[in-house]
């Protein structure tokens, strides 16, 4: 075994080195094609379809009918490679595309995601990975079922696993649809299903084994795609090829610019102020309308519409004739006028807050917890700390990540594998804050103050593609760009980096392929978690324990297909915003799983009743809080201590822990079987009935 495992590892290193070189050659060839004037759209297609084909190819080569290979990749994934697979499994569309943009928009406060999504691995390493590996079964509900005995803990665990994985997978498929539609011009809904096909060919044929080796391949693509443009940008602005070190300089420059632009006594600051004044007027106008609506109701609405129509009529008959463009705008204002009171109220409220936001001074990038007064700052700090906590504990409770530590050859490898996971994840997480600052440097120092007649190419290109990503209008009509005149969508930062850095289109294609790899790899892991949970825990362990291997695999694959199509369908309805969905998944996993899992290993007295109470209580409180406070559900109850719904786990986790402890103490101690299992997972060399080889 030891010789073959060493050989296997050496072989893998050789394969993946060849693969990496091959991929770079592929990118270079596309670069040459671009120089030969092959159109950008073709290059985009080549990237997307070549990589999807590649993943499908790996899936096909690693197809398997062996249960241990299908569920846990045969438990022979070396620590280093499992680290890469965890990296790809972990870094989702939100990390790859959204994170740098979130940091750009919210500065220090966005670092909650950076800290939360890395610090959680300390908890994985210290509390879970080695013990779960020693336990050595197939799914996370497996552990709950064996440790606490009976089907109830397993069933509750299964429900929690499916719930948070499903919420999370929707966010991934959304990302897949976004990327395929943007880079190939396919419609969003079609893009979703094309991406889905890529996910399915891989996991369908080879389960965990195929997903593992594809994820390693996807990690390599995504990290190359993320790092290259940022290094380039860093060299361009600072002369230093290590962006993580160099951006201190850029951050200082950004700070200086922020001060100038906020200072009304400087020429540039005065121009910013003139734009802000216009936004303040617009906000004021919206506010007046809202007041009028409060007192006048439907009559006021008709009056306002009448005013617009009168203006339009005047413009049409004016001499000399008005600019047709202005007439267009006036016509649209009449056409888009809200139809009833409720719609008017909503639209004007949005208008008011949007304009007020644009009218306020620039927030310093490095300033933590900005707020209008001490109380607002205190609430903001509280939310930051709570969110960090939820994301960390959630990291240590998401089944699709924990499951990956079942696949290493030994407990020792599982521990080392967490180290490799963290290292590979840090490569991206240390780069994202640097990217955000470098792009901000470009915008504040070069774009602001440039002339509207000579906008940089990347600005005009993206403004044409999608107004939500990049919008720029000369509000105060001075022909010069002011910061307040620019609107940048969070997804733009990563997508536009190659163009900002002045790199050829082929690198933009590479970034798209990287984003797709990030979304697909996470979606793969999640779908497999759901399907494996249903087929292994529900069908095999509870419904038909005598089912033969072949039938178990058929059930698993059928479920995989069903769940995937269902998830794609839900995604095509476009529910909610991605970052909230992801955050919700973390809070739910943290509240539902973490207490029962960790106490199950570290506290022998924890028993079935406690586990069920803790899981249901934690998850229940967390979901109830989200339902009550997230605007989407329309309840809008007052927030407890000002905590945002995304950090609902801050209430769910303590309830979960107290639930497990109290529930266990009021009911009889668990039997010797449970004691034996706990001892079994605690000592790496112990043998017993749980030995995975006995499967």
């Amino acid at each position: 075994m030891d010789v073959s495992q060493t050989q296997f590892s050496a072989q893998l290193k050789r394969y993946y080195s060849f693969y990496t070189v091959g991929f770079i050659v592929f990118v270079v060839i596309l670069g040459i094609l671009e120089q030969l004037l092959v159109p950008n759209r073709i290059i985009g297609y080549l990237f997307l379809f070549a990589t999807i084909l590649l993943y499908a190819g790996i899936g096909f080569m690693t197809k398997t009918a062996d249960v241990a290979e299908y569920y846990v990749a045969g438990r022979r994934v070396p620590a280093l490679f499992n680290g890469m697979a965890v990296g790809a499994d972990w870094m989702s569309a939100a990390s790859f595309i959204g994170l740098a943009g979130t940091l750009y928009a919210s500065g220090y406060d966005g670092l909650a995601f950076i800290m939360g999504w890395t610090g959680g691995y300390c908890l994985v390493a210290l509390f879970l990975a080695p013990y779960l590996r020693k336990f050595g079964q197939f799914t996370i509900p497996d552990f709950l079922g064996e440790r606490y005995g009976g089907n109830l803990p397993r069933l509750v665990g299964l429900m929690a696993a499916i719930l948070c994985s499903f919420v999370y997978v929707i966010a991934q498929i959304y990302g897949v649809g976004l990327i395929t539609s943007r880079f190939t011009g396919l419609e969003f809904n079609i893009g979703v299903f094309v991406g889905l096909a890529g996910i399915l060919v891989c996991s369908f044929l080879g389960g965990m084994k195929a997903v593992t080796w594809t994820q390693v391949a996807q990690y390599i693509i995504l990290i190359i795609a993320y790092i290259i443009p940022v290094v380039w940008l860093s060299v361009k602005y600072t002369g230093n090829p290590v962006p993580q070190v160099a951006y201190g300089y850029a951050l200082q420059k950004v700070g200086e610019r922020e001060k100038i632009l906020n200072d009304k006594s400087t020429p540039e600051g005065a121009k910013e102020e003139s734009v802000r004044a216009i936004f303040r007027d617009r906000a004021h106008f919206a506010e007046e309308r809202l007041k009028g609506l409060d007192s006048g109701g439907a009559t006021f609405l008709t009056q306002e519409k009448g005013k617009l129509e009168a203006t339009l009529a005047e413009l049409r008959t004016a001499t000399p004739p008005t600019d047709p463009h202005v007439i267009d705008l006036a016509e649209r204002a009449v056409k888009d006028f809200p139809k009833d009171e409720a719609r008017a109220r909503a639209a004007w409220a949005v208008e008011k807050t949007g304009n007020l936001a644009k009218a306020s001074p620039i927030r310093a990038h490095a300033e933590p917890f900005a707020g209008k007064d001490d109380n607002a700052r205190e609430v903001s700090r509280r939310n930051f700390l709570a969110l960090v906590f939820c994301l960390m504990v959630g990291t240590a409770a998401l089944p699709h990540i924990l499951m990956r530590y079942y696949t290493t050859p030994s407990v020792r490898d599982a521990r080392q594998s967490v180290f490799w996971s963290m290292l590979f994840i840090l490569l991206l997480y240390l780069t994202a804050p640097a990217l955000a600052v470098l792009v901000k440097f470009e915008v504040y120092s070069h774009l602001v103050g440039s002339s509207f007649s000579h906008l940089p190419a990347w600005v005009s290109n993206w403004a044409q593609v999608d107004k939500a990503l990049m919008a720029i209008t000369d509000i105060n009509k001075d022909g010069i760009v002011q910061l307040a005149e620019i609107t940048i969508g969070t997804d733009l930062i990563v997508l536009a980096t190659p163009e900002i850095a002045g790199l050829p289109y082929v690198i933009t294609g590479l970034v798209a392929a990287g984003g797709l790899a990030a979304a697909l790899s996470t979606a793969d892991g999640l779908l497999l978690t759901i399907a494996n949970g249903l087929s292994h825990d529900l069908y095999y362990k509870m419904i038909d324990p005598s089912a033969p291997t072949s039938r178990r695999l058929i059930v698993s694959k059928t479920l995989l297909l069903g769940v995937a199509v269902l998830a794609a369908w839900v995604t095509s309805l476009r529910p909610g915003d991605i970052l909230f969905l992801v955050g919700a998944a973390f809070s739910m996993a943290a509240s539902g799983f973490f207490p029962a899992l960790v106490l199950g290993i570290f506290w022998k007295r924890a028993n079935k009743f406690g586990a069920v109470i803790g899981m249901l209580g934690g998850l229940g409180v967390c979901m109830a809080y989200m339902y009550l406070t997230y605007p989407f559900f329309g309840v809008n109850a007052p927030k407890w201590w000002g905590i945002e719904p995304i950090a609902a786990g801050i209430f769910g986790i303590p309830v979960g822990i107290i639930g497990v402890i109290l529930g266990s103490l009021v009911s009889p101690a668990p039997g010797s079987r449970s004691d034996d299992l706990v001892d079994f997972v605690r000592y790496p060399n112990s043998e017993g009935e749980m030995e995975p080889a006995a499967f």
Partner: protein, 88 residues
């Protein structure tokens, strides 16, 4: 299986190192975040310190925690004779 005094000693040392590392984890996460505003007055290599900790400093400590734990526990396994033998 039979739990000996040696097993208990191993487990206690494991709990000790786990608690210590968890303490470090807690301190490097929540102290710099709580005092981020105050720490920002100190500037290192162009970075305000509070920002730097959230964007890099704490993250590197996380990596060291995990690295130390893996090495330490793998040695401890051997010392107490609970290691898995030569698997890889």
């Amino acid at each position: 299986m039979q739990i000996t005094a040696k097993h208990r000693a191993y487990w206690n040392r494991n709990l000790g190192v786990t608690a210590l590392l968890l303490g470090i984890w807690f301190v490097v996460t929540y102290i710099p975040a709580y005092f981020a505003r105050e720490l920002n007055d100190i500037v290192v290599m162009g970075f305000p310190l509070g920002f730097y900790m959230g964007a890099q400093g704490s993250l590197v400590v996380y990596l060291l925690i995990i690295w130390f734990y893996a090495g330490h526990m793998n040695r401890l396994d051997k010392e107490y004779g609970v290691d898995e033998g030569e698997i890889d």
